[in-house]
Homo-oligomer: 133 residues x 2
């Protein structure tokens, strides 16, 4: 796993329902954050995107404070995914390497499968996530 | 607004339903992050917590990629709130100053009202948000 990724700056956040049922944060290293903020496309080599996810759990204590059931927070971590830009090394998958870690151990993901799902975002260099100001 | 807060590190994220209907990220300055990670209580003077929020919007393009309606992302920013630890200056409100900015302009919030809702989290120095590993 790229060292220090938990300290990287925030790109945006999301909630996935269904089987994923998570809250997720997308962080970027300095190269990635700079590219996002400046609208650089394609992302330069060295950019790394980290997608952290946690189980989606209701917060009893938040709900009590708000006076109604409305609050969902990040629970236990599920997995962490990375996209690493290296236009030569990963030329076959849009210049991006893909990796997933479950419980900090490499998961058996097939980069071509990751890439296939990211193709619709080709116009934004295969990144679905938009920077949240 | 505290300068550079958008670059601060991530504490955790949440989704609020109801009138708020947002996705929110809680960031901390270095003092706050260190206190969270080390379990320091109370938080030392100088700690600042930033709560950013964005409208909760379905992502058509993510849903198409996933093949089902399940994805919600951060839309337009709603407001930003801060908690600033200064145990002397804000002694009347648990040592925390409270502020809200709407569209980058100070909102008319009453610190006592903010504090009143945070009292149930007194055992964690009035912070509801837990650090997401």
């Amino acid at each position: 796993m790229p060292s220090g990724y938990r300290d990287w700056r925030l790109i945006s956040i999301a909630h996935e329902e269904g089987n994923l049922n998570d809250l997720r944060a997308v962080l970027g290293n300095d190269v990635a954050i700079e590219a996002y903020r400046e609208g650089k496309l394609p992302f330069p080599d060295g950019a790394i995107i980290a997608r952290l996810a946690w189980s989606y759990v209701p917060s009893v204590e938040n709900n009590e404070a708000f006076g109604r059931p409305q609050s969902f927070v990040a629970g236990t971590p599920t997995n962490v995914q990375f996209m690493v830009k290296d236009s030569k090394k990963y030329a076959a998958t849009g210049g991006w390497g893909f990796a997933q870690f479950d419980d900090r151990k490499p998961a058996h993901v097939v980069a071509q499968d990751c890439f296939a799902c990211h193709v619709p975002a080709k116009a934004r260099d295969y990144l679905f996530t938009r920077y949240a100001p």
